[in-house]
Each structure stands twice: as structure tokens, then as C-alpha cells.
Amino acid sequence: MTSKIKIIIASLIVVIFVVVGFYSFMDSKIEYASFKEAQKKMKMVEVKGVWQQNKETKYDADKGTFTFYMKDDDSTEMKVVLDGAKPNNFDIATMVVAKGKVKDDVFYAKEILTKCPSKYEGKGEDVMKSSNVN
């Protein structure tokens, strides 16, 4: 009898946990998208791309926003406005991942992740280069 009650209680908890978990999961799921897809979706998405160094890149101290232009993997370029200052390691990032939404052709980012090469793969030319320096 007691073991039956235990099993019922346990399965009830598991069911609640799974259901709550599923909703929480769907809620916090962030898809990777291109700028074009982001424009269609109203949801928060993540777009990865490359910072366009030759375009305007500035920090607005009054508004506390950082603006730059980014080109995504499909070569769509869009203005990105980050709510915050220039992210860490922005200059050395090989890739930028921006999390946010598109509004009026501007990508408003809540968060920006910079991907830096922790180590550039060594190349043969580098071996010779390092020897020329000295």
C-alpha cells in the first residue's frame, strides 16, 4: 500500500516536472537565424556574422548603446544596436553572435557574444615568419 502511494506521488512529481520543463524549454529556446529570417520572426533569435570594420562603429555614451554593422552568413548586412557598451574582445572576434530582435530594419541586440580564436591554428608560414623576426 505504502509503496503504491509512493509510486503515485513520485510519478505525479515526474509528470509535473516534465510538463513544466517542456514549457520552460520551449519558452527559452533561442533559434539561430539569419537576418532575413529574423526579420520575419518576431521572436528573440541569435544571428551570427562578421563585424563590418569599414562601416560606422561607435558607442553612444548618452544612450549607452553600441552600434555597428554586421554581415550574416547569407551576406545580408544590417545595423546592430546593442544595449550596452562595446563587448569584450570585440576587435579580435572572428565572429559575432548577436541575440535580439529586428525592428524597423535594425537589429536590437540584448546580448553579444564574441568568438575569439583561443589559438590560431599554426601554419607553416608562421614558422618561417617567426624566424625572420629574430
Partner: protein
Amino acid sequence: MVGKLLIYTAFIASVISIIGFFLAHNGKENFLKMGRVFFHITSISIITAALYLLYNILTHNFQLSYVWEQSSTDLQLPLLISTFWAGQEGSFMLWALLTAVIGVFLLNYVSKGERMEPQVMVMFTLVLSFITLILILKSPFHYLWESFPKEVDYGFMPPEGRGLNPLLQNFWMAIHPPTLFIGFASLTVPFAFAMGALLKNDFDSWTSFSVPWILFAGGVLGLGIMMGGYWAYSILGWGGYWAWDPVENSSLIPWIINVASLHTIIAQRKTGGYKKTNLLLSILAFLLVLYSTFLTRSGILGDSSVHSFVDPGAEVYLALVVFISTFTLISLGMILVRWKSLKDIRIESSKLMTKESFLFIGALLLCASALVIFVGTSLPIVSQSKVDQTFYNNMNLPVAIFLMFTMGISLYIEWKETELSKFWKNMILPTAFSLITLVILITIGLRDPLYIVFAFVSLIAFFVNARFAIRIIKSGTMNFGGMFAHIGIALFFLGVIGSARYSQDVDLSLEEGKPQEAFGYQFTYVGANTFMDPNNKRDTMYAFNIKVEKENKEMTMRPVMFYSKFSQGVMKSPDIAYFSYKDLYISPMSLEESNPYPQESMYELKKGTKTKVNELEVEFVDFDFGNMQKGGKEMGSGNYTLGAIIKVTDGGVTETMNVRTKFVDGTPQPNPVMMESSKKYAFYFLNMSVRGEEEGGTTAVFSIMDASKSPQQQAGETLVVNAAIKPFISVLWTGIVILFAGFIVAIVRRRKELLVKHPEKHEEHSTGNGSKQKNKKK
């Protein structure tokens, strides 16, 4: 050549050792010696190979690709040593080394008495064999001319290596990865014991042999994870100690499972229950280590983590996949083989209000938490998406609440039968203490109902465990390790509530010399100092002095930024002021040069054209080159004076003005010019460009500003920082230290079991929970 030879030797010897141990397991006792001897050959080869790699690093033998890629001559000794594991090949070497060293201790341990030596060692050696195989595929002993046969000649020795990434150049890099790897390597042992138990078809005795190793693995891996958090918080300036990053998660999951298994094993040793659970959890913890290795080494998470990965190449990817699937299949296979005997294990239905049930509930909650993290972390592998941090936080919060609740009350639950009246009586005092503390916390700002509940159950867990710990310490025994660990976790969660939920942060643009207020502090940027990078003596670093004042107290905080030649980018490091109940955290964001001429005041005019500026009409007539030759020597030198002639019409009055600007090293130092009839506007000539007609022609840039507002030419640079207040973070670190102390106490106490020949004889009398009960009855 030497290095590779040693690795091959290790691999071949490990295969022979496996055969030896397996034959010994099948009853051919005389093969046991063969297994032992070849295991030692494997270990010695791996240890020698590791020492050989270290020797090459210390002597700067840049002929080895790995040494050339990771290190350089200017690194100080601890950092130079840390280049051993800075790259993939080296970290596999370190994993092999630590597994081999642990294996030597393990063999010594299991060869004493009846400790399932052949069964345990056959599994352990199999793991070591696989790691060695990866080292064959991804060898740190390649020469440059083998790695780059086209570019590099045989025997070439570069005078200098590429050096270590400055992000990795600090104390934590020297100790964090090896600690994690010791934890990972030691989780192989409980796995080997569980698999050995399945091989031997004996599901009882292994638990007592395994516990000290589970404790050791849990303590060390936990320490390694926490070090990573502290590193991220205090040095890397990520703003927090935990970001639910896949790399962090992947090492946390096996730790949680390991801790869960510790609890159910304690129950098995006391009551004989949970035999299947224990086998499963010990196996799972190890498989999750392999999964972690796969996630972090295969490059599969490249897009979804702040950590960076180097693509290891297809063969390593494949080897890792084979590694993890082989051991998953072996584990499943062993369970299937023993299915019959496992099924026959009689489950005694125990009552709910017993310690056994509560240990199981605790383990179940831990597994739920691990499952949540596992699902979230694995999502990027199976789909083009990931989960937000809120998923981990929202899902783990209720689990943690129940966990703390269980932890708080379970000490007053008896093994056999709990008298409810006695239970409630015992709970009165801790509950009262918790309520008082909770009221204090609410007064100082704790608000959300869910967090109030979380704080309350954490406080109960804290007080109950503290009460037990004090009682046990007074009684003079060492059985308080578990309570210490629980106190630590309770404090840790209290710190999490404060620092994660009630942190505040703000971006401040600090113009030099101009104070700004935030959180009741006054921040003034007072200029920067330069110093040389103490680690490599190559980069000039900048410490930005920020005067922080509150009431009459004053201090200077110095976040650091510098341009790293190695990374070709700006590196940043925060400064933290530690107070007893909060941290003030300042991370530098950027340094903005002052721009005295606002963008909206700038006008670019083509020669001979007019434009409207408010009520004015401005025409750019021509340049005044004075005596200077157009584009001549003077201009090339960058020091010259140039004028621009403009015609301005204001309400019918037209004046022609020459706006002159002195260029010093190419930088304009404009002088304002105003109309004689009206002093309302000031005109500045800022720049010129001479281009062909099709490219826009010759233009000049002017700034036309309200004359009453002078350009902020005197304004210094602006330092942008993120300032944050993190309440109770010291409580969190204290909790972690106590948690670790708990592990140490427990390990020290169980050390005797490592030395005693037949521990299972003593077990029934000396398990921690038995003594706990005795104490309670006093």
C-alpha cells in the same frame, strides 16, 4: 621519435595488460601477474612521455610543433609549465598522465585483499588504452617538418615560439585545467568498480571499495569547477561566476551525478538497497565525462559557447565518438548480461519517513537537475537552436528548493522508523533560527516569494547541519564531512540568491575628472597608469584609476585594459572591491576619445556649392593655401596652416570669411571665426579632401556651432565602465570553501579504508551514518 615510441609502447602494453587481467578474471590466476606488469609498463611509458614533453617545453625545443605553437621563451616558469595543457594534444597527454598515475594507486589498492582486482583493472586499463589511442592520433610529439612538410625543412629550429594566449596567462590557467582533469580521471575509478561488480556478478562489496574514490573525484572535480567560476569572475571579467556555458555545464553534469551516487551508495551500505541505482550512477558519471570531453574537444559546440574550440580534425572527432559509443555499449552490454541477476535483486519496500528514502529523494533531485542541464547543453547538437540561461535558472530553482528542504530535514529522519513527534520537536530550534534570519533578509531587501522560500529552506538546511556538525565535533569524531559539505552548499545557495537575483549593474561613461553617482558611490576617472605585462614583459598595460568615494571613505579601483600583440586586440580585466556583504565590481568597457565637434554640427561642402544651416546660407568658395604649394612638401610633413574661404548670408547681410586651421602632425587645431554682424554662430574648418570630380570633388568639412557653446576641446577622454553591486557573493565563496573542506574531512576519515586490508569487515560498524545515528541518540 622518443615521445611517439613511448606512446606506442604504452598502447601495446595496455592491450596486453587488458588480456592478462581478462584471463585472470576468467580464472586463469597466473595471468594476473602479466596484467599487472604490463599495466605498469603502460603507466611508466605514459609518465615518461609526459615528462619528455615537459622537458621539451622547459628547454624550448621549438622543433616540436606543439611546443612551438603553445609556448615561447619569455614566459615565466609556472606559465611555461601550463603550456603543457594549453592545447588539445597536451590536454589529452595530461588526461592520460593523470589516469595512468591514478591507475598506479588503484592497482596498489585493489591488489590488496579481495578487491576485485582483475575485473576492475580490465575496465580501467581499457579506458587508459583508449586515451592512449587518441594520443596516437593527436600526438604532441609531431615535429614541425612533419606538421608542415611543404614549408618547413627537416631539422629546422625556430628561434621563438608563438607564445601563450594572454587570456590564459595567469595563475588560474596553471591550476584550473589540471584540477578538472584529476577529477575527470578519478571518475574512471568508480566506473571501473561498478563495471567490475557487473563482471564479477557481485553487487555488494564494490561499494565499500569505491566510496573513497567517489569522494576524491567529487572533491577534486568540484574544486576544479569552482576555480573556473572564480577565474571567470575575478580575472576574465565575465561579470559572473557561472554563465551556464556548455563547457561549464559539461563538467558540472558528471559532478552532480557523482554526488548523487555518493548518497545512494551510503544508503546501500547501510540497508543494502539501491544496488541497481548505484551501478547505474557510477557508470553514468563516467559516460558523462566522456560526453563532456566530446562536447569540448570535438568542436561541435563551436557556435554556442564563449569558449573557443579548435577543430581537432576528423580523426579525433571520430575517435571521440568511438570512445563514447564503445563504453556506452560495453556498459549496456554488461547490464544486459547481468540482467537476470539484477532483476532478482529484491527490493525491500521501505517506509517513506526513513533516511533511506530521503537519501534517494536527494539523489533523484540531483539527477533531475543534471537532466535539465544535460538537455539544455545538448540542444545545439541536435538542432539549430539553444536555450537561454533562464531555462537553467527557472528549472533548477524548484529543484534546488526541494533539495535544500530534503537536506534540511533528512538528518532528523531515522534509518528504520521516525517518530514524528520527536521529529517536529527537533525541527523547532533550527526553524526558529531560520525564521529570524529570514526576517532580517527580508528587511534588507529580499522580496520575490519564490526566493524567500528558497532562502528559508537553505537556512533550515544550514542550521540543522551546523547543529549536527557542532555536536559531532564536540564528540571528537571525524564524521562531520557530510555536514560541512551541506553547510557549504546551503551558504552557496544563499550567496546565489543575493548575487544572482539582487545584483545591480550600470554602464557609466566617466569623463576624465567629472564625478558620477551610482549605487550611492561617487566615481571619478582620474587618468591612467601604464605598466609592463608582468607575465611576458611584452605588452604595455593600462590601469585606469577610478576614485570611488562614499561618505568620507575613498579608494581607488584600477580595472586594466591593454592591447595584446599576440591576440591583436584589446584585453580587459576587472577590479573588484570586496566588502563583507557585497562586492563592487568594475569592468572596463572602452576608452572613448573625446569628440569636441558633435556629429550634427558637421557639414561637408563641395567647392562652389551652398547649403542651408538653420537661418544661414553658407557657400564654400575656395581654399586659402597661403604661400603653400598645393600638395607640396609642407603638406606632406603634416604641419601647415590652411584656410577655407566661405560666404555666409544671414538675413540679407553677406560676409566673406577666411576660416583658418593650423594642422599639427596632420591633426587640425581649428580657430573659430564669427560673423562681424552677428556673433551667434562660430565656424570651424575641420578638414579637407581633394578628390576627382567623379569621387565627389574637392570638399571641406566645417563645424557650425552655437557660439555660446564652446567645443569641449579641453575635455579629456571618456572611460566607459560597467559598475555592478553583487550582494552576498562573499557568502557564496565561503560556502564553496566549506563544501570543499567537507570533502577533505570525509576523505581523510575514509583514508583508513584505503589502508585496511579487508575494509568490508569494518564497514558495518564505521559508516558515517551509523555514527551519525549514535550521536543523535546521545
